[in-house]
Amino acid sequence: MTKYIIKRILMIIPIVLGVILILFVLLYFLAGSSIRQMPIFGGGDALDKIFTFFGADDNFITKYIRYCYNILFKLDFGRAGDIGFNVTRELKYRIRNTLLLLGSGVGATLLIGIPAGAYAAIHKNRIGDRVINLVTLLFSSIPNFSVAFFLTLFFAVYLRILPVLISYTSPKAFIMPALTIALGGVASIARMTRASMLETLEQPYIIALRSKGLREADVVYRHAMKNALVPIVSALGGLVSQLLLGTLVVEHFFSVPGLGSLMMTSVGMRDHNTILGCAAILTIILTVTNIITDILYAFINPQIRLLYAGKRAAYREKGRRNEDENG
């Protein structure tokens, strides 16, 4: 298992370099004009010299290799627009905000979506099921900025119980952003949980569990729930990528300095290094999420866990089994 995880973590490097290559090609050959063409710089020899000094005029391959080398061995994302502020420091400062928002959003999605879906499945076709279906459909149909707007209006302006500005000292400040990010994902998670739970409750082993005298609560919440979570865990990776869009909106709406807002401003400035840095970090976040998803999946699904434990162990097991059968 440890070996497998290390292998997966090492796989992040080629994936990130690949994504950077694609973006690098797009930005270098197509976007063309970089920050130096902006009218505020005017022109002149002195400026050209500065750009040349910082390597802005090197050819594509040199630039790409230097960029990758700096990321890999120095953790250095270069300077904004080749000559500006230190992108690495900016990223470091902003990763925390984005991760906090994204994490609380994912947490809220699961905390709301899974119980709602399970409740709907257990009360299939009754009022509770219909209400949950309707409410989740409604929330998944409203864009995040509208959700943020209505939440702000209600909790901050009307009730005055939640602050509008993010601050790390009060977890209350994260309620509205987390809800805003979550509401798009809640519908899909709730639907998935409902379908998976309904399918699980029809499995034969549920009958067997009842027949051996377990209480209904144990059957549903311990056995059925754990089985129903298996497909949901494998959908987590997609969920995080879906919620990133919401995070972007929330950073914008609640004025949080995060990766998304940094990226939006640097896109406006044609600031390639910053765009690339943000994209690299976002890709790493997604890849790491996928690894965590796989580990969780293995944790919840014993069959996969044993598969990872190594082929040799599996063969040994098979040998033992045959021996049992014959004995």
């Binding site: 029809e202 499995q203 034969p204 082993y205 009958i207 067997a208 569990l209 009842r210 027949s211 051996k212 005298g213 377990l214 209480r215 209904e216 144990d218 056995h223 754990k226 089985n227 298996v230 919840i300 699904n301 014993p302 069959q303 044993l306 097991e317 089994r321 049992d324 059968e325 004995g327």
Partner: protein, 325 residues
Amino acid sequence: MDISSDILLEVRDLDVSFQSRQGEVRAVNGISYFVRRGEVLGLVGESGGGKSVGVHAVMSLLGTSARINAGSALFEGRDILRLTRRELASFRGREVSMIFQNPSSYLDPVFTIGRQMVETVRAHDKGISKESARALSEDMLRSVGIRDPERRMRQYPFEFSGGMSQRVMIAIALLCKPKLLIADEPTTALDVTTQAQIIQLLKELQEQSGMAMLYITHNFGIVAELCDRVSVICGGYIVEQGLTDDIFYHAAHPYTQALLKLIPRIDSPKNETPPSIEGPPVESVTLPKGCIFHPRCPCCMDVCRQNAPPQTALEQDHSASCWLL
């Protein structure tokens, strides 16, 4: 001991139907059977004949689309169709246990065998410690013929073959020493060799513990091996019941006779196509009027098409429902 307390489970006039898109499906139409203490009753019939439903209904294991229209099931004098949820939970598994057709799909795939056994013990005996529950489970696994139970307890169901899973199911079912074991075609999904081993095991366990057993099957070979008495079920009706010997040598109902003819014989001529009962099995949505078997019966009379035959007692414990009698 008087006769009435000799009877462990008595099912009377059980009537079960399912709601479906085509309308009401009548799965079981007023069947009655009983199981005495320590005896093995075989419930025999074709697939779709209502054997499983008639037994699952007794354990209140049918889904929401099923409805029990009438009938009672007295277990030691208590009507188990009318238990509360809590009573039902403590009844199932302790008084009556069940094993099923496809063993590997009846074990929860994401819990170890050990946990599934320990939780069963502790569900019925709240005071027992985890360690003694484990010890009890290991003993039980050993007694169903699983070697190295300590290691096997830590494994998951998918690491067990079909025959081994069925042994585990049996072990779980017997953990709380039930008075009755219901076996719902437990060997149908297994290969012939394993089948024989499992039947042998069930026979030994039943004789050792003296529990009663209700064995559902479509295979008369198993009946001959295992059962004291037989009830033959067709289209949701019990058409004949009696001691195993009576059924085998003096089958009264044409349906039973037809089923008996299906047993492959070692002396049957080669290249002969395997026998089968002529005609389609009963459609539960549109039950035929009169006798349930008349559309396929070789000796069908006018009266069979009009009226359902009454039950006729033939010998002690042997009765059949047919106009011929």
